[in-house]
Symmetry: C2
Subunit: 191 residues, 2 copies
Amino acid sequence: MRADARKNYSHILAVARDVVAEHGADASMRDIARRAGVGLATLLRHFPTREALFEALLRTNLDALTEKAGELETSSSPDEALVSWFREMVAFVQSYSGVVALMASAHEDPDSALYATCAAVHSAGARLLLRAQTEGTARADLDGVELFGLMSALGWLVGQPGFAPREDHLFHVMTSAILTNRPCTDIKKAA
Amino acid sequence: MRADARKNYSHILAVARDVVAEHGADASMRDIARRAGVGLATLLRHFPTREALFEALLRTNLDALTEKAGELETSSSPDEALVSWFREMVAFVQSYSGVVALMASAHEDPDSALYATCAAVHSAGARLLLRAQTEGTARADLDGVELFGLMSALGWLVGQPGFAPREDHLFHVMTSAILTNRPCTDIKKAA
DNA sequence: ACCTGAACACCGTTCAAGT
DNA sequence: ACCTGAACACCGTTCAAGT
């Protein structure tokens, strides 16, 4: 990679971070290129797809969250670790509006540039879930995919302007569905 | 309303139903006009905004769901009524992909053409919730807004291709968060 | 190697001109 | 009253031409 290319690359990324913070995940690529003072074709050369751009944009944060899961695994009780990691994930996806939709769809598409990063997040969560399930504090009939799904759904919801103020409570409700600190009465009856 | 206008109106609506079924809620207005054999400006004349179009498109279904809530209120036990109505709502929003995002944002925006219809759905749900809460089968710390939110979040999630197969189970999990057929142990500890 | 401008086929909005 | 085509300002994709 040539020096000018490397410089363009990181400059585009920095600008993209700002524009995305302003306009969310469906910000205009053209606008990013314009603000970066670079041709649109140049942006597309470095990041051939929107997901490729977001892969670079989110990698740092998502890697940190994956690592955080590992730390929590040794530093906290299984249920606390699961809940506080879940919290951090929700808070993160909320920080870039619309990014959760990108992640949810990348999670299901092995061809996506974001797939690997999402898969890493996924399995980090799955491990925390399994640990809490072994202890008996997380409901047994849940897997990593569903944990990822519930996180995404909650993240999506609190990303809607009107629901953001209720984030804490909605988080609490969602958490109560994942944990099982209650004698398991017959809940199927009602469904 | 002139005869030709009325004819255009209903024809556009019929075509829109097909196109939206194919391409989801962010289908191209231009494409709908094209397929209806009508100028784009004509479509915009009848439905000045995408939400106005969807208001007409969804009104029938949503009114039926509002009415259904009323029926359930007399025909079923409070918890069963709440759960089965919730189920129907989720099934409905899943039937038109992307429509739940439109509804969730309209729900918060009094200026939206979809606002009134969403508000009706909202309050129908709120009544079912309240009824179950009075009976003690739905968790007390929930209101109509949050019920609408959880419905939207679940609808959004099962609208994502990879999560659709898990709809039943995810519905079950979400339901368990809304109902309270369990002695209310201290769940805050973990959060 | 890397960048760029321009052409392309789209999109929704707006409005003067037609019947 | 109602419809329409066209102009406008956007979008992402693609590629031949430049350094």
